[in-house]
């Protein structure tokens, strides 16, 4: 049987599948379907220093092969997360990534400091949420911004630091290099691409926030391209995501350079997707005589 274990920035995952932030809450709802230890890890809903109410509805729109969301980081705040959500999650036998967003570098640093004293395995710095005016994306779309925020947080963060990149940039390679230089232990990408839908009957945007973040199979080729471009520029590992819905997509994104994979939107159409993807991945590795899934990472033979 092929070995599915992967290690990212010193953290060992039982398999390369991690639930993507914002699609899995804090795990409770999906634990109805299977033990959460089925997953290598869980990236929790994005949290902020103080509780946030989120955006007014509608927050969701369907798109061809995808969806838009503008949830707006509704969350109970970092203290509530550490006291109320983390203890239960910690017992589920899976790795925990705390996904954090803020308005100011100080907020990010305070959260990183609190989480460093907590039981989480990694901190995922969300500098790429497109749905709130000041949710970090202002730091995530220029090299100087990325360098500033990552080096500031680095000083306070005693957990492995994953920096989650926005695809809404012109040169993902440059941004990846800036994050690495500033002290990131790993990168995760891609967050959602900003999109929009309009109801032609009412001439109103479907989403109350006007724009939202595009996810799902529609963004998969963009994710493959960006993971490939970033991985050729940095030495730190990359957690790839964006539209993964089948085991074949996991293999493809790992060939492009990912060391682990997050899945989000596919859970909405099939809550059992992690189980099916892992089954498929296992038999693929076995039937191709691949001893460890880690052998796939970066093995693209590009022209």
């Amino acid at each position: 049987m092929a070995d599915l274990k992967v290690t990212v920035a010193g953290v060992e995952f039982a398999n390369p599948l991690i639930a993507a932030s914002g699609t899995f809450g804090f795990g409770h709802e999906y634990s109805e379907f299977y033990p959460l230890s089925t997953l290598g890890g869980i990236s929790c809903k994005g949290i902020t220093l103080k509780e946030r109410p989120g955006n007014p509805p509608p927050r969701i729109a369907e798109t061809p092969s995808g969806m838009l969301n503008a949830v707006g980081l509704q969350n109970p705040g970092v203290d509530h997360f550490i006291e109320k959500d983390l203890p239960w999650l910690r017992q589920q036998g899976t790795k925990i990534l705390a996904n954090i967003a803020g308005n100011t570098p100080e907020e990010y640093c305070q959260m990183a400091e609190k989480l460093s004293d907590s039981d989480v395995d990694m901190v995922e710095l969300n500098i790429s949420c497109p749905n709130v005016k000041q949710g970090g994306v202002q730091f995530g779309t220029s090299c100087a911004g990325v360098e500033g925020i990552v080096s500031a947080v680095r000083k306070y963060c005693r957990k492995p630091l994953v920096v989650k990149l926005s695809p809404n940039v012109s040169d993902i390679g440059e941004i990846a290099v800036a994050a690495e230089a500033a002290g990131a232990d790993a990168l995760s990408m891609i967050n959602t691409l900003t999109g929009m839908r309009i109801d032609i009957r009412t001439r109103r945007p479907i989403i109350r926030n006007n724009t939202g973040g595009l996810s799902g199979p529609a963004v998969f080729p963009v994710a493959v391209r960006m993971v490939w471009q970033a991985s050729s520029r940095v030495h730190i590992p990359i957690i790839g995501m964006g539209g993964v819905s089948r085991w074949e997509d996991v293999v493809e994104l790992m060939l492009a350079g990912a060391s682990a994979i997050q899945i989000g939107t596919v859970l909405f159409s099939d809550p059992y997707a992690p189980v099916k993807i892992l089954d498929g991945l296992r038999s693929y590795l076995d039937s191709n005589g691949i001893a460890s899934v880690t052998e796939l990472t970066g093995k693209i033979q590009a022209y």
Binding site: P57, T63, S269
Partner: protein, 255 residues
Amino acid sequence: MKYDVRICEILKKEEIAKGIYDLTVEAGELAEKAQPGQFAQIYIPGKTLRRPISICSADAAQRTMRFVFEIRGDGTKLLSEIQEGQSLDILAPLGQGFCLGDTSRRALFVGGGIGTPPLLYAARKFGGNASVALGFRNAEAVILEKDFRDAGCKVQIATDDGSYGYHGLVIDCIGQEMPEVVFACGPGPMLRAVSKFAADRGIPCQISLEERMACGIGACLGCACKILRDGREVYGHVCKDGPVFDAQEIVWEVG
């Protein structure tokens, strides 16, 4: 398990009014768990998001579940094309349904259009104690009248154009009712009027809301609606805190 995914065979499919379909599916143990007012998320091949459809009724003995839906767009159109003998991938039962309490109380059920189906299962439990008032566009759009009558309920129908029953809004034909509890589902303005009807008389009122959904189980926070909790206005979630809410909890959007 509170809810699960199941592949359910379609046992019966019927177009009961123009563009409105009535499906009965073989639902196994999901049928035993389903409570009045809960809903299902139905997978539509080729669509990213499941479609939320209320459980119109469930039969634990027969292990069946019934859905009544209207074609409103691409997804429901595709759903209407699936035939008897084929299967649906269903995630159910979801959300908080109606809190029925003492079914010997006089209950008033108010439904508008495609908001009618979710009331049937609950009204059956009240039988002869239920008075049901339903509003539709016109005579052709009237659905489920016989089902409510067969359950022993007293039924009044209103149509916008007067082509069947009372000519006008359903809210205008409930003035004489003296219920002890009210249940409603339908368009926003109707729900608001029903809430006011109940509040004016100091009667408890439960209403079923809709919102666009992704996960359907409370994980993505997509289906927000403003509610009062502990005196504070917060965004609750239709799929988990609802779809049925106490009318006094709802914070109605102005305009």
